[in-house]
């Protein structure tokens, strides 16, 4: 126990913001993580909406292809997908640039992270949104069709608002997964929170202090998100009759 206390007391000032301390590095890492998570989540939601509509109303070939996409992405570890997609995306971009007569470039870490995690998120979002759209009472959609609404107007005015309340719990979960999955980008050396922590810890040898501090930062992020999403869910359920009274 005394070892723990001694380490804790002597290493806490390493978390200070000014240069001998690593606090600013950690916060920059957190900011990078939040940026990537937000971008990947948005991209995932777009893929998810397209995927859900494709799975429900698409042609048979579209449905089959989407089934392959969601099954493969959900069956292979994110870590492996990130590596495959990261190298594949970097290679593809460089091939295009080389073909156009340019020279090889280093891929922007944030953009690559967003693209890779977005594709992973998209598969899960597809399933969540598909379930939510299926939960919308068929009568509502039929009524809108009978009124002569165009498919886009129907989606915007009827399906989307109604399915939102069913989708929010699943989407909230996905956001938490997105924030935690950013940690995996540490394996490709991107300076998000976990990687920044690893650097700080291995430089100062204060492993426990830094990993615990990063844990607290992640925890604050997840608790704040949970509170935010419960607000959003309440908003999405406005005007709905409450179950059981």
């Amino acid at each position: 126990m005394f070892a723990l206390e001694a380490l804790g007391a002597s290493t806490l000032d390493l978390l200070a913001f000014s240069p001998p301390g690593w606090g600013a590095t950690l916060l920059r890492g957190l900011w990078n993580s939040v940026q990537i998570a937000t971008g990947a989540y948005a991209l995932g939601a777009l893929i998810g909406i397209a995927g859900a509509y494709g799975k429900l109303y698409g042609s048979p070939v579209t449905k089959d292809l989407l089934a392959v996409y969601t099954t493969v992405v959900r069956a292979v570890p994110e870590l492996v997908l990130i590596l495959i997609l990261y190298f594949a995306v970097a290679d593809a971009v460089n091939q295009v640039i080389l073909a156009l007569g340019g020279s090889r470039i280093e891929i922007n870490g944030v953009a690559a992270g967003i693209a890779v995690l977005g594709v992973v998120q998209g598969a899960y979002a597809t399933e969540v949104l598909r379930g939510a759209i299926l939960a919308v009472p068929a009568g509502q959609i039929e009524a809108a069709r009978a009124m002569g609404m165009s498919p886009i107007l129907l989606a915007r005015r009827i399906t989307m608002p109604l399915m939102l309340s069913f989708a929010i719990p699943g989407l909230a979960n996905l956001w938490l997964v997105a924030t935690k999955d950013t940690a995996l980008l540490a394996v490709v050396g991107f300076a998000e929170l976990t990687q920044a922590t690893r650097q700080a810890a291995s430089t100062t040898k204060a492993f426990f202090t830094f990993y615990a501090a990063a844990g607290v930062l992640y925890l604050i992020l997840s608790i704040a998100s949970t509170i935010l999403f419960s607000r959003i869910e309440k908003w999405a359920r406005r005007g709905q009759r409450r179950m059981g009274g």
């Binding site: 070892a3 723990l4 001694a6 380490l7 048979p60 070939v61 089959d64 292809l65 493969v72 959900r74 069956a75 292979v76 570890p77 994110e78 870590l79 492996v80 997908l81 590596l83 495959i84 190298f87 594949a88 938490l176 935690k180 999955d181 950013t182 940690a183 995996l184 540490a186 394996v187 976990t194 922590t197 690893r198 810890a201 040898k205 492993f207 426990f208 830094f210 990993y211 615990a212 990063a214 844990g215 992640y218 925890l219 997840s222 608790i223």
Partner: protein, 259 residues
């Protein structure tokens, strides 16, 4: 299953897929698969991954049952800590938890006097045990939440009937409550096992030699970028297939009455 594949458009898609796989095999570099050293490493890696998965699921579920019970019906001094534990595990990335355990807490151990001479030292030094410990805690955190819902979901009448029959609480738990709760989680448990399988490669980051670490080693030694990763994806797809089939078979064995 086979009949579903025999539709013309699916046959065309299968043909295209076979063509793409053929291209991969023809133009990719697969010579490393023939090296006996790598074959042996891959077998050990797959064995380690599967052992890790089975072991941590069993330990984790054993911890999740009391955690779920404490949250569902426990007094506040049990429910609060259980909730805090689940929140902590679910709110932070597993990679960070593993780093914290292995590099953080692991680095504190040598500071304790006399520990190097104790019988625990080989265990406290070995990344494998840290991996098992970290992944088990993760299962416990996530499944504790699932079990809470399952315990709460068992119809009250069942428990009242058992009490009315004069069952002591322990028998009631063993014969009525736990089996019905487990029955409820069985469909989700398959999915959770797949999720857990997808967490196992993270232990490679703390130097455990699982199949992911093997592929990284092959990539580092042979400088081949994609092929070991594709092999990895195929291995994980196969393990997922086995898990899904096993759970489907298991679910069919358990009788369900649908109203």
């Amino acid at each position: 299953m086979l009949k579903e594949l025999m539709i013309p458009r699916r046959l065309v898609m299968l043909a295209i897929a076979a063509f793409l796989i053929g291209l991969c095999i023809a133009y990719g570099r697969w010579d490393w698969l023939a090296v006996p050293k790598y074959q042996k490493m891959m077998l050990t890696g797959i064995w380690n991954t599967v052992t890790l998965l089975v072991l941590t699921m069993i330990i984790g579920m054993a911890l999740a049952i009391p955690l779920g019970l404490a949250q569902a019906v426990g007094p506040w001094y049990l429910a609060r800590p259980a909730q805090a534990f689940c929140g902590l595990i679910r709110g932070t990335p597993l990679l960070l938890q593993l780093f914290l355990l292995y590099y953080g807490i692991g680095s504190l151990f040598p500071g304790i006097p006399g520990i190097r001479d104790s019988i625990f030292w080989p265990i406290l030094r070995d990344a494998w045990y840290f991996g098992v410990f970290g992944l088990s805690l993760s299962v416990a955190g996530y499944e504790g939440e699932v079990m809470r819902g399952a315990f709460k979901g068992v119809p009250h009448g069942q428990l009242e009937a058992a009490t009315a029959m004069g069952m002591p609480p322990v028998t009631l738990f063993r014969r009525i409550w736990l089996p019905q709760a487990l029955h409820r989680v069985l469909p989700t448990l398959g999915g959770e096992t797949v999720l857990q399988m997808k967490c196992t490669p993270l232990v490679a980051m703390i130097t455990v030699m699982d199949i992911y670490a093997v592929s990284s080693r092959v990539r580092a030694e042979t400088l081949i970028v994609y092929e070991p990763l594709l092999m990895l994806a195929v291995v994980y797809l196969a393990i997922t297939g086995v898990i899904v089939t096993l759970f489907r078979w298991f679910e069919r064995r358990v009788p369900t009455r649908t109203a």
